[in-house]
C-alpha cells in the first residue's frame, strides 16, 4: 500500500516536472532556432567580409526614448533600419514612453530589467541617482573603442559631468542651451491695452488685469500651477535644490539653503496669489484641469503660458504656421535678476542600461547617429522632403517641406535631445527670430550652474521625502494658487504638516550634501 502511494506521488511529481521541463523546453528550442538563424547570417556576413567588409554579427537592438512618437515614426525607423543594416548589420526597435506618466514608466523599465540597449538619460530623469544605484553600464572602456568619434568630440569637462564614482555612465549631448522659464503672451493684446513690456511683477499683473477685465478672458486658462510656480521661483530668485520645498535663497548665497514655504517671501507671495485668484486670473478648477494653458492661447481663450525659449520658439512657429491671427511674444524670467544658467551637459544624453546584451553595437550606432549627418538628419528632423527641406545652405532647413500641410504631417519633434551634436544642428528658416536674439542676450549674463550637479540620492531621508512630497501635493499646491479660503490658516497648517513629515531632517540632509559639493568646488 505504502509503496504504491509512494510510486503514485512519484508519478505525479514526475508529471509536474515533465510539464515544467516541457514548458521550458519550448523556449530552448526556439532559442536554438534563433541561434541557427544568426549563425547562417553570420556566415553570410563573414563571406561578405571576405569581400573587404567589416565582419559584424547581425543583431537587433532595442532603444527607448522618452515622450511621444511621431505619426510617421514607423516610416522613419524603417528608413533608419535600412541604413543601419547596410552599415552596421543592425536593426533597432525604437520605443517611446509617451509623456503620460513617463517618469514612472522610465523607472519601471530600468527596475524591471527589460532588455534595453540604449535609453534617454538626463539629470531631470534622475541620471545621478540611477547611476549610483547601478542602473547604467559603465562606458569608460567601451567609448574609445566603439564610439571613437564621439569620444573625441565631447569636451573633457562634459565627460567629467557624467562621471559618477569612477565610471562614465552616459553620453551627454553636445549642444549647450539656455532653458530658463518665461512667459509666452499675447503681444498684440499688450499693445492694444497700451501697456509697457513686462519688466517686473507689477507689469505682468497689469497685463493679467487688462486681459481679465477688457477681454473677459481668463489669463491662465487650464492647468495653472506651473505657470504660477515658475514665476514665483524666478521673481524671488529661489534656486530650488530639492523639489519644490528646499532651495537656496538666491544665486549669490548658495549656502543659504532654506525650507522655502517657511520664508517670508513665500508668505507674501501666497497672499498675493490669493488676490490674483480672487480676481479670476485662473480658474478654480485649475488643479484638476488636464489642459495646457498654451492650448487656450491658440483658441483665443488664454493669454499666458510658461515655456523655455526654445519651446516658446516652437509654440510661436506653430501659431505662425497654422496662420492663427495673433501676435505672440515671449518674456524670459531671467530679466528679473539679469543672469541665466546654461543647461548641464547631461540635461540630455543617452545611456546604456545594465540589461543590455549588445552595448558595443549600441554605442557604435550612437556614434554614427551623432556624427553622420545622414543619420542625424533622419532621426532628428525626419525624412527630407516630407518633414523638412534643405534651405539655402547646409545649416538651414525649411519646415514644413514645400507642398506639405502641417495639419496632415505635423512637425517631427521627438525627444531627439539625447544625441544632439552642435556641429550637425540646423537652423530653421523663417523660425522665430526671438530665439537668436535671446541667445545673444544670454551669452554675456551666463553664470555657471552650481546647483544642478549637487548629487542627492535621498537614501537616508527617503521616508521624509515621500511624506513631505505628499504634504506639498495636498497643501502646497492649492496654497500656491490661492485656492484655500483662509490663507493664514492654511499656511499655518501647511507649515505644521511639513514639520510633522520631517522636513527639517530633509533640510539638514540637503544642506550637508550641498555643503560637501560647494566645499569641493570652492563655492562660497
Amino acid at each position: 500500500m505504502r509503496k504504491r502511494t509512494k510510486r503514485l506521488t512519484l508519478v505525479l511529481m514526475m508529471s509536474l516536472l515533465i510539464s515544467l521541463v516541457a514548458g521550458c523546453g519550448g523556449g530552448n528550442n526556439n532559442g536554438a532556432a534563433e541561434n541557427k538563424g544568426t549563425n547562417t547570417n553570420e556566415t553570410k556576413v563573414a563571406n561578405e567580409g571576405e569581400a573587404g567588409k567589416e565582419t559584424l554579427k547581425k543583431v537587433k537592438l532595442t532603444w527607448y526614448l522618452v515622450g511621444d512618437a511621431h505619426k510617421d515614426q514607423d516610416k522613419i525607423i524603417a528608413e533608419w533600419n535600412k541604413m543601419l543594416e547596410k552599415d552596421l548589420n543592425t536593426t533597432i526597435d525604437v520605443k517611446f514612453t509617451t509623456w503620460n506618466d513617463w517618469m514612472t514608466k522610465y523607472n519601471l523599465l530600468l527596475t524591471s530589467g527589460e532588455k534595453i540597449d540604449m535609453i534617454f538619460a538626463s539629470n531631470w530623469a534622475d541620471f545621478y541617482k540611477l547611476s549610483k544605484q547601478g542602473a547604467f553600464l559603465d562606458l569608460k572602456e567601451l567609448l574609445p573603442v566603439n564610439a571613437p568619434v564621439t569620444w573625441g568630440n565631447v569636451p573633457k569637462q562634459d565627460w567629467d559631468s557624467v562621471t559618477v564614482g569612477d565610471g562614465i555612465f552616459a553620453v551627454p549631448n553636445t549642444n549647450s542651451e539656455y532653458t530658463p522659464d518665461g512667459y509666452v503672451y499675447r503681444e498684440d493684446w499688450l499693445k492694444e491695452f497700451g501697456l509697457p513690456e513686462f519688466t517686473d511683477l507689477a507689469s505682468i499683473e497689469a497685463y493679467f488685469d487688462a486681459v481679465k477685465t477688457k477681454k473677459n478672458v481668463t489669463p491662465i486658462n487650464g492647468a495653472a500651477y506651473e505657470n504660477v510656480n515658475r514665476l514665483f521661483r524666478f521673481w524671488n530668485d529661489f534656486q530650488m535644490i530639492s523639489g519644490e520645498i528646499i532651495g537656496a535663497t538666491s544665486y549669490e548665497n548658495p549656502r543659504d539653503i532654506q525650507i522655502v514655504p517657511f520664508t517670508d517671501e513665500y508668505e507674501a507671495w501666497v497672499k498675493k496669489m490669493k488676490e490674483w485668484e480672487e480676481k479670476g486670473y485662473w480658474n478654480k478648477n485649475s488643479l484638476s484641469s488636464k489642459q495646457e494653458a498654451g492650448d487656450f492661447i491658440k483658441t483665443g481663450q488664454g493669454a499666458i503660458y510658461w515655456r523655455n525659449p526654445s519651446s516658446a520658439g516652437g509654440f510661436i512657429n506653430e501659431i505662425q504656421a497654422k496662420g492663427l491671427k495673433m501676435d505672440v511674444g515671449y518674456f524670459p524670467f531671467t530679466r528679473f535678476h539679469n543672469y541665466v544658467i546654461p543647461t548641464l551637459p547631461i540635461a540630455n544624453g543617452m545611456a546604456i542600461p545594465k540589461s543590455s546584451q549588445n552595448p558595443e553595437r549600441s554605442l557604435m550606432v550612437l556614434d554614427k547617429l551623432r556624427n553622420d549627418p545622414a543619420y542625424f538628419n533622419l532621426m532628428t528632423y525626419g525624412i527630407e522632403g516630407t518633414h523638412w527641406a534643405k534651405g539655402e545652405d547646409d545649416k538651414t532647413i525649411v519646415i514644413p517641406a514645400p507642398g506639405v500641410d502641417l495639419n496632415v504631417t505635423p512637425r517631427y519633434d521627438i525627444a531627439s535631445w539625447g544625441w544632439r551634436y552642435e556641429g550637425n544642428m540646423k537652423k530653421e528658416k523663417g523660425g522665430w527670430e526671438g530665439l537668436d536674439a535671446l541667445k545673444e542676450e544670454f551669452k554675456p549674463i551666463s553664470k555657471q550652474d552650481i546647483f544642478g550637479p549637487i548629487y542627492l540620492d535621498y537614501e537616508p531621508v527617503k521616508t521624509e521625502l515621500a511624506a513631505v512630497n505628499q504634504v506639498f501635493e495636498q497643501y502646497g499646491k492649492p496654497l500656491m494658487l490661492g485656492l484655500t479660503p483662509d490663507v493664514d490658516a492654511s499656511l499655518k497648517t501647511y507649515r505644521e504638516k511639513l514639520k510633522a513629515a520631517g522636513v527639517e531632517k530633509l533640510l539638514a540632509y540637503v544642506q550637508e550634501e550641498s555643503g560637501k559639493y560647494f566645499d569641493e568646488k570652492g563655492i562660497q
Binding site: 504504491r4 503514485l8 544605484q133 542602473a135 484638476s288 527617503k462 512630497n469 499646491k477 513629515a501
Partner: protein, 306 residues
C-alpha cells in the same frame, strides 16, 4: 476527519481527479505563489546590481513612509468606506434593476434598457473623468446652468462635500449593467412553479418579489459581496486618479491608499516602498476576508466561502 494516512488514501482513491486538478494547481503555483517571493522587496533597499536577494535587508524601514505623514488612518478609512459604499449600494442597485428588468414583459424595451445600462461598463475611466470635469468645472454644464438661472455658481473643485457622492454615483453607474446581468441570470434560474403557486394563492407582484425573488437571490447576493470584500483594501485607482487627479484640495475625502502610493512613488521612485504599500494592502485585505468568512461560518454556515 481523515488522518495522515487518510490523505494518502484519499489521493489513492481519486488519482485521476487529482491528476485533472494538477494543471490548475500548477497554474497557481507558477503565476500566483512563486511571484509572491517578490514581497521580499518590501524589506530591502533595492539596488540594480543585487536584484531581489542581493539587496540589503532593512527590516520595516520601507513601511515608515506610510505612517510617517500620519494619514495612514485617513487613507485606510477612505479606501474601506468607499469600497463598502461601492459594494453594498452597488449590489443593492443591481438587484433592484435586475428585478425590474425581470418583470418587464416587452422584450424590445428590456433588451434596450439592458444594453444602455451595460454601455458605461465599457467606457474607460479616462473618459468618465472628462465627463465629470465638463460637468462640474467652472465653465461646466452645471455651473453654466446655474448662471443662466441667475444663481450663484458652485465651486465643486474647492469643496470636499460633493465628491463623496459624485464618486460613489459614477462608480455605481458604471458597474450597474454588469452586476444586473448576474442577478438577472439568478432570477431567471428561479423556477416558474414558485411564482405560479404564489399566484394561485393570490400573492400580488410585490409579495412575490418579497417572498420568492429576494430570498432566493440571497445566496448570490452574499456570495458576490463576499467576493468583493476580499478587495476592500484595494482602491479603484483609475476611478480616483481620473476624477480627482492632482487636486490637493480634495484629498481629505478622496485620497485612497492607491493614489497616495502612486503620488509618493512617481516623485521618488522606490520599488521597496511600493512593495511595502502593496503588502500592507494585501495583508489587511487578507485579514478582512478571513474575518468576514469566519463570522459568516459561525452564523450561517451554508453561505461561507470556504
Amino acid at each position: 476527519m481523515p488522518g495522515k494516512g487518510g490523505i494518502i488514501r484519499e489521493f489513492n482513491r481519486n488519482k485521476v481527479l487529482f491528476l485533472m486538478v494538477a494543471p490548475t494547481l500548477l497554474f497557481f503555483l507558477i503565476f500566483s505563489y512563486i511571484p509572491m517571493v517578490g514581497v521580499y522587496y518590501a524589506f530591502t533597499k533595492f539596488d540594480f546590481d543585487g536584484g531581489l536577494f542581493g539587496s540589503e535587508f532593512i527590516g520595516l524601514k520601507n513601511f515608515e513612509f506610510l505612517y510617517k505623514s500620519g494619514i495612514l488612518w485617513n487613507l485606510t478609512k477612505n479606501t474601506v468606506l468607499y469600497n463598502l459604499a461601492f459594494i453594498i449600494l452597488g449590489n443593492i442597485m443591481q438587484v433592484i434593476c435586475a428585478i425590474f428588468l425581470a418583470q418587464l414583459s416587452s422584450k424590445f424595451f428590456k433588451k434596450t434598457a439592458q444594453s444602455l445600462m451595460f454601455l458605461p461598463y465599457f467606457l474607460s475611466w479616462v473618459l468618465v473623468g472628462a465627463f465629470v470635469f465638463n460637468l462640474f468645472s467652472d465653465f461646466g454644464v452645471i455651473n453654466t446652468l446655474l448662471k443662466q438661472l441667475g444663481l450663484q455658481p458652485y465651486d465643486f473643485y474647492l469643496q470636499t462635500t460633493p465628491w463623496k457622492y459624485i464618486i460613489v454615483f459614477f462608480n455605481i453607474w458604471k458597474g450597474i449593467g454588469y452586476g444586473t446581468v448576474i442577478y438577472l441570470a439568478a432570477i431567471m434560474s428561479i423556477s416558474d412553479e414558485y411564482y405560479e403557486a404564489a399566484k394561485i394563492d393570490g400573492a400580488n407582484i410585490f409579495q412575490q418579489i418579497r417572498r420568492i425573488t429576494l430570498p432566493l437571490l440571497m445566496p448570490t447576493f452574499i456570495l458576490l459581496i463576499l467576493f468583493s470584500l476580499g478587495g476592500i483594501m484595494k482602491g479603484q485607482f483609475d476611478l480616483f486618479y481620473q476624477i480627482i487627479g492632482n487636486n490637493g484640495m480634495l484629498y481629505d475625502v478622496t485620497d485612497i491608499i492607491d493614489t497616495y502610493v502612486f503620488r509618493s512613488l512617481t516623485v521618488n521612485f522606490d520599488i521597496g516602498m511600493g512593495t511595502a504599500a502593496g503588502l500592507y494592502q494585501s495583508f489587511f485585505g487578507f485579514v478582512i476576508i478571513m474575518l468576514v468568512n469566519y463570522i459568516i461560518k459561525k452564523t450561517r454556515e451554508e453561505y461561507a466561502l470556504f
